[in-house]
């Protein structure tokens, strides 16, 4: 080879080698030195973060009957940029989704400004309708496929449905559009119910389809837990139907009924009136959404006498048979006159003060107890504090300390005036007596199970404190049994085959201008059965009933409702009747007029 050609070859080799060296340097720079930067850019361009939505957990009663569940629905969306035959699409959408054709056409013709040029282009994302049922969506998709119309797609969603509509509405509650619990158990147990969304990083191809092979980091969703309530829907149905009947008969402004198992504190049924349909909430007034059993404050009236009497007995100031002079129905204290309704009594035993519901008798027990001790007993029974039931918005009521009491408060508070209590507190106090002095936390949640059905939390019976000695509670139970007898105020609360213990309440309502209304009452009855081994405790409370020809007392209005509910409830719970009380019930039935209040 000549020298010149060898030189040329060397030059060429050198140039090629230099070229490769430059490219190699660039490659090393891209692949090694700046690899993180470019990897991040590529990842950003091609990968997407998909959210995998968790399913909201369900709510069921104690037997697993669904009270809240999810129903899959679809959102109909149109990408107008790919629609070829808009008229056919509009007609199909209008027909299947029951929308006016003109409105659909208008939506399909919607144009949006393009980002760069400002030119108007058909919108790529037009929501036609939310919450379309699966059947309708299927039919619509089939028709469009048949007619070969492109441009419509579905987005999968779910709506919360409440199969029992208005039943137990205040307890179950509801969720908003974002699936967030707004009321009831839906709100109080939202953290358990909502679960946790999962996610996945994946890549898309040029057409925007997911490339499953390039899925990267993935975290599966954790579905919401299922909440099982202590409520038994069969008992709830009984309570609701009796409440409906009472609403028809007495037309009260509002009514509440709570059914509990005193030995465990479980709430077996809870109903309020007015109520509302959980599936049709639009336009429902706030007042109807209120769970009055825990949010309404009432003056409990005579049912509160159990607290004062329990205090006097526990402090050993009196015995059940001790005589108290009841001033023949007219007692002057602190410059005001206190009356006993209807009857004036001479001397009554402590037992009879409860049986006859004497205001003067119980006021004297209050005076004997003294302000501080009476206040302490009221608080020990749980008044003035939230009961702790697992429902949102519970209030604690109002119990003023003795420093804020007036001269006559010591005679009014013992009979349930000048105190603000919730119906739940009243029924829980009655449960305390039934439970031989043990105050329990009311429970409405029985257990929480995960998506696999494994119990992850349960709520055992929670004792708050021993309020009074069991012997004192026993003495009170004896008196309360007599209340539901022909000599007591609640003869109409009797349940054939069962011995019932309970107390009536008839409280005048506070007037807006001060003092008390003379024709507006809150009537109630709180009782339990069987008296010696309680299985059920129930409160029936009606605000401003229109009694018609019936006297306006709790013994005449609330006690019969209690009786009807209890008769049906014991049959459902299969409680064996005691033949002795079948006979007693027969004699009582003939003496219904013997009941006073």
């Amino acid at each position: 080879m000549a020298v010149s050609s060898r030189r040329r070859a060397m030059w060429m080799g050198g140039i090629v080698a230099s070229g490769f060296t430059v490219f190699s340097f660039r490659l090393v720079e891209l692949q090694v030195a700046k690899s993180d930067h470019y990897r991040a850019l590529a990842f950003e361009k091609h990968s997407i973060r998909q959210t995998i939505h968790a399913r909201r957990g369900g709510i069921g009663d104690i037997n697993g009957i669904p009270l809240a569940s999810n129903e899959p629905v679809k959102t109909v969306v149109v990408d107008a940029s790919v629609v070829k035959n808009a008229e056919v699409l509009a007609e199909a959408l209008s027909w299947h989704l029951e929308l006016p054709l003109a409105a659909v056409r208008e939506r399909l013709n919607k144009k949006v400004e393009s980002g760069d040029s400002g030119e108007k282009k058909p919108s790529r994302y037009i929501v036609i309708k939310h919450e379309v049922s699966e059947n309708v969506a299927e039919a619509l998709a089939a028709e469009l496929e048949k007619k070969k119309v492109r441009g419509m797609f579905f987005e999968q969603n779910a709506v919360r449905v409440y199969p029992n509509g208005s039943m137990l509405s205040h307890v179950v509650g509801y969720v908003n559009r974002e699936n967030k619990g707004m009321e009831g158990v839906e709100r109080s147990m939202d953290e358990w119910l909502k679960g946790r969304d999962g996610f996945r990083y994946t890549e898309r191809n040029r057409r925007g389809s997911e490339m499953v092979a390039f899925r990267r980091m993935e975290s599966p969703p954790r579905d919401g837990a299922t909440i099982r309530l202590t409520v038994d829907m069969a008992l709830q149905d009984i309570v609701e139907s009796e409440m409906d009947a009472a609403m028809k008969q007495f037309r009260p402004k509002m009514a509440t009924c709570i059914l509990m198992r005193p030995t465990t504190g479980e709430v077996l049924a809870m109903a309020n009136r007015p109520h509302y349909d959980l599936n049709q909430r639009d336009g429902v007034p706030v007042e109807s959404r209120k769970n009055r059993a825990i949010m309404d404050m009432i003056e409990p009236g005579s049912t509160f006498k159990i607290v004062t009497t329990a205090g006097a007995l526990e402090s050993r100031l009196v015995r059940p048979e001790s005589g108290i002079y009841c001033e023949h129905g007219r007692f002057t204290y602190g410059g005001t006159i206190l009356h006993d309704s209807h009857h004036g009594y001479g001397e009554l035993s402590v037992n009879d003060i409860i049986v006859k519901s004497s205001n003067i008798g119980v006021a004297k027990l209050g005076i004997m107890l003294g302000e501080q001790r009476l206040y302490e007993f009221i608080r020990r029974f749980g008044f003035g504090d939230r009961t702790g039931v697992q429902l949102p918005g519970e209030i604690g009521g109002i119990i003023h300390p003795p420093s804020r009491w007036s001269k006559i408060s010591i005679t009014h508070i013992p009979m349930g005036h000048e105190v603000g209590a919730t119906p739940m507190q009243v029924v829980n106090a009655m449960c305390t007596i039934a439970n031989r002095g043990k105050l329990l936390t009311p429970q409405i949640i029985s257990s929480i199970t995960d998506a696999a059905g494994k119990v992850i939390a349960s709520y055992p019976t929670a004792e708050v404190r021993q309020v009074i000695a069991p012997e004192v509670a026993e003495a009170l139970v004896s008196a309360l049994k007599e209340v539901v007898s022909k000599k007591g105020t609640a003869a109409l609360a009797h349940v054939p085959g069962f011995e019932v213990a309970g107390k009536t309440g008839t409280a005048q309502k506070i007037s807006a201008g001060g003092g008390y209304e003379h024709s507006k009452y809150v009537v109630s009855f709180a009782g339990f059965l069987p008296a010696d081994k309680p299985e059920l405790c129930c409160l029936v409370l009606l605000d401003e009933p229109i009694p018609g020809s019936t006297p306006y007392y709790g013994g005449y209005i609330a006690a019969p409702i209690f009786s009807k509910i209890a008769q049906r409830a014991v049959r459902h719970l299969n409680l064996p009747p005691n033949p002795d009380f079948l006979k007693l019930a027969g004699s009582l039935a003939k003496n219904e007029d013997g009941g006073k209040r």
């Binding site: 009957i65 199969p163 997911e210 033949p579």
Partner: protein, 125 residues
């Protein structure tokens, strides 16, 4: 014979050629296998996606049916049906208390051969 007079022969380096061919074949085969495997991965990915879609569709249908069953079995639905039937001929008659028989716990005799109660005491009517 001197080496200068030896006949020149173009010997083929068969071993080397074979080695190169083997290497090239291995590389080529490996590359083809790699491409095929990649295609398989994508195909299985698509299949996985289809199965996920089918599973979702089945789960959705299950949820729809479950929701429908719970609606039809609800107390609210039962009440509506009851009120309809009250107006129609198929009337539901409540069971009277006197017709309810409550069974007590089985009487356990300490002696196996002893006669046992076979009926419950009847409540007074």
């Amino acid at each position: 014979m001197s080496s200068n007079r030896r006949k020149n022969a173009n010997l083929l380096p068969v071993a080397k050629i074979l080695l190169v061919a083997m290497v090239l074949l291995t590389i080529g085969g490996g590359a083809l296998y790699y491409v095929n495997a990649k295609n398989e991965v994508h195909r299985y990915g698509q299949r996985k996606k289809e199965l996920e879609r089918e599973l979702l569709a089945v789960a959705t249908k299950d949820e729809v049916v479950t929701s429908r069953i719970s609606k039809l079995c609800s107390y609210e639905a039962l009440r509506k049906r009851q009120s309809l039937e009250r107006e129609a001929f198929a009337k539901l008659v409540p069971v009277a208390d006197t017709l309810v028989v409550r069974l007590q716990d089985r009487f356990l005799s300490p002696v196996e051969s002893q006669l046992r109660h076979v009926s419950n005491p009847q409540p007074a009517r």
